[in-house]
Symmetry: C2
């Protein structure tokens, strides 16, 4: 079945393995550093992914210094603390809830787009979090495209991280991602996935 | 710059083009049908993408019949109506806000995971929408991996679609995606993307 579906896609099997089939969430990494040039190359690829009104709300905070990692660690669940302090790089992914201010430039074909989001911060935040999540997924795929492994984490105190890193209020934390090369046995086993007939309805 | 970053990634240039660099949101498609076998192959690839606690909240409703498409069209913004009625296939992506009931089976290594989400539907819905958005992005990438084009749309009345298709209340609409092969001039021009130095902060 899987072999058949591999061949049914236009994307070659090696790329399917790299991005999805052989890729795993990683908890422990080697000490090899992740350079800024590599993260830049990941961004150059995945920034092309689509968002509503081309809003691109995602912002990337690279926590490289021990001090920045310690500031973050206070707001993590216990299970995420040690592995984050030891990862070569931790990316704090946040969204800019004032994304609408740049829509006239980013989505010029619809000059009224910005007005749809003026006033009500709740509506902006909902849209920014949804579209930021799309971009977070593109970013995870991009890390794998660079031959690296990602360790995404939702287990942190979002309000605490916002107060710690974004006190001015426009940015809002979305996801943490540890990045590096997997240590031996650093990758998690694949959890059971739902089958197509369990998740699909045809009308 | 782009040429250099293309070569800096492990993913080959052809795959980079297929999934990101040459891929565009499409509004008009050829009449060629999108088979269920193709959607199944897309799912078989992208179901491997990570979600928190392996929760996999995304559900896929394939709107194939003219009747189902008409039911949807009532809840679309005017600009999305015609192109949706003409697309070879429209996928209604929704999340199951009762995902926590299956966590004991999907994330057996942490038996308490389900309890984290019991009781408070707001917290479940927030988590389901975030993780469903990750999966929606994997799905868009998967459509492109199949050599097809995606036309994702947020412009619809979410409450109206929920009442129309999910009256029992556990499912919640997330995103619509038209799917097919691009008609000549059916793809949108690439909107301007934010540069790395505009979105990245290093601490």
């Amino acid at each position: 079945m899987t072999h058949t579906t591999t061949r049914r896609l236009a994307l070659d099997g090696t790329a399917q393995d790299l991005l999805f089939r052989q890729a795993h969430t990683v908890d422990r990494f080697t000490g090899e550093p992740v350079t800024d040039e590599t993260v830049r190359a990941v961004h150059d690829l995945v920034r092309n992914g689509p968002t509503a009104f081309n809003q691109q709300p995602l912002r990337l905070w690279l926590l490289r210094s021990p001090e920045s990692r310690e500031r973050l660690a206070r707001h993590l669940t216990r299970g995420n603390r040690e592995k984050t302090l030891r990862a070569p790089l931790t990316a704090l992914l946040a969204v800019d809830t004032d994304f609408h201010l740049r829509l006239p430039e980013q989505f010029p074909q619809f000059p009224g787009a910005s007005d749809l989001f003026t006033g009500e911060r709740g509506k902006r935040e909902r849209s920014a979090r949804f579209n930021g999540a799309l971009q977070a997924a593109y970013f995870i795929i991009g890390i794998r495209a660079a031959g690296l492994a990602a360790g995404p984490m939702s287990g942190f105190d979002e309000d605490g991280v916002d107060r710690e890193f974004f006190p001015d209020g426009a940015l809002s934390a979305l996801l943490l991602v540890n990045i590096g090369r997997p240590a031996p046995d650093g990758a998690r086993a694949r959890g059971p996935r739902l089958g197509y007939d369990e998740i699909r309805t045809t009308l």
